[in-house]
Point group: C2
Chain length 338, copies 2
Amino acid sequence: MATMHDVARLAQVSVSTVSYVLTGTRPISQATRDKVHAAMAELDYQPNAMARGLASRRSRIVGLLMPMDERGLGATETAFVTGAAAAASTAGYHLVLAPVGTTDLDDLRRLASQRMLDGAVLMEVQVEDGRVAVLQEAGVPLVLIGRTSDTAALSYVDIDFDQTVREAVDHLVGLGHTRIAYVNHSEAAIAAGYGPAVRTRDAFVARMAAHGLEPLMIAAEDSAAAGREALDAALAQAPDLTALLAMNENAVFGILGELAARGRTVPGDVSVVSMVTSPQVAELAHPALTAMTSPGSALGRIAVEALLRQLDGVTGDHHQQLLPCALEIRGSTGPPGR
Amino acid sequence: MATMHDVARLAQVSVSTVSYVLTGTRPISQATRDKVHAAMAELDYQPNAMARGLASRRSRIVGLLMPMDERGLGATETAFVTGAAAAASTAGYHLVLAPVGTTDLDDLRRLASQRMLDGAVLMEVQVEDGRVAVLQEAGVPLVLIGRTSDTAALSYVDIDFDQTVREAVDHLVGLGHTRIAYVNHSEAAIAAGYGPAVRTRDAFVARMAAHGLEPLMIAAEDSAAAGREALDAALAQAPDLTALLAMNENAVFGILGELAARGRTVPGDVSVVSMVTSPQVAELAHPALTAMTSPGSALGRIAVEALLRQLDGVTGDHHQQLLPCALEIRGSTGPPGR
DNA sequence: ATGAAAGCGCTAACAT
DNA sequence: ATGTTAGCGCTTTCAT
């Protein structure tokens, strides 16, 4: 493997000249630049990432921190990951996937102190998230996908849950529904301060109140079976409900199954809106689900781009952005029956 | 940030002693070991990953190479990724997610020459996959998830498609079905030499022949809509079919929808087996799908573990392993109707 | 516009 | 069992 010395010798210049040609941090005459490039090509030269990282104190590696609990990633989270990977790659950065839980703070401290990461993107951020402080103390720039309660000095990208819930509720109310139940994530997720669960809950209550309607709410684990139980509970609580808003990609399929089992048609008897859902998943249901389509890979991409800007940039200010989910009307919603 | 020199000074030993305590590559007396550890703790010392990587020529980073075409990752591939990430993390390695397509051979060459990766795991391997030669030329150890046609000197982990198809066919034949159609991935995927598509096709033909049955085969893009068309095509080709084997997680939902739309019940009129599917996805359907459950995260984990063994190990031999999918009978299969 | 040389923080001979 | 030291391959002052 050729080194910078080899290139310098072949091009008859000094190593520093080669380095400056590479980094572009000082003017080089066209003539020498050409010589150097020719030598590089001739030798198939590629800079050694470790050496470069050590000398420059920049690894060109960013971390994607994702808690690896429970049943793995859903389609939405997977899109974050692929979006982030693509963005990093495009910018000439590397993306390391670090499975650090919200509680593995010591692991994270260790990782952050290794000086391997130029920065980090945090997924599955909780309202109170210890990882933020750990990274800040270690001096690792970070961008959140999601938000903590205090976002003052932080960069984040998140879904605009307020607007998403508002649009979903308004869609149903506009169709004439008044008895609407909201199927959230599990009680445990809500208690843990999982942002999407907490924020959509509050937004639902607020929007229903704005319409003068009573907010019915059910929590459900992320599974089809839990969805069936959730429907049971919802129907017990409000036998006359005509619409469901589901925050829970997995539960919603159980809900559809249970509705069919009980002989209730969709959307004839009950309308269903699935929140923060990917089009692919929405198409899997029958009828295809009216859904609030999540920004998907865009969130991951934007988070990485913001992080990289923060790394290069002199800009001290923070990137704070909310992206709405887009209402896509498919076959699972309609006016309330008879 | 404390360096090894700081630790050495505080512990009153030489830097090399600190280094050897860390790497354990030569005997150190208990007394000095304790002194060093105390100093490390006192200073919150963490070795600098770049410096270590440069000096040792080992980055402790492995790459996960995944083509980022089309519609992103399915549940099965996502499980590979999380399994690989967990295994790497457990072993004290880092996992970088590198979105390099099967055609981005120059990008890959660049990546491999940067000496950033100690090794690589290749996902979505095609029967003829140029990435293998590129990595071998660059001297990067690799393990495949999937197989090329010539596996002589390669390590791989793959699904045992032969056995998986055999079990699925036998399950249906055992129930009494004789008119069975196989819904594969797209023609394009087959033509490109996508292993799962090619191998299951061959296995299906072989197993049907073993039963003295005629193999009906349909190709479909990975979408619900394509699944509906596939069912059209299958029914046109064999109006009397009573069972479907689907290799295509997305298409199978379209198939179920179209069956329902045509008033054909599952499994009363038509039995459906979904191949290489995760339990979560199988549970989403109604009725829940009888499926060949993919090994999921185990594949990713095993691949990384084999790679790491290859890195440390003196063992020159290769890890070659096939994992079967497990038949999980749910509600979508039964004896053929009337 | 270019060169010389001092690190970056470690590992791994080569010492004893 | 421990210490000394020469690199690893770059970046970046400090020169000119």
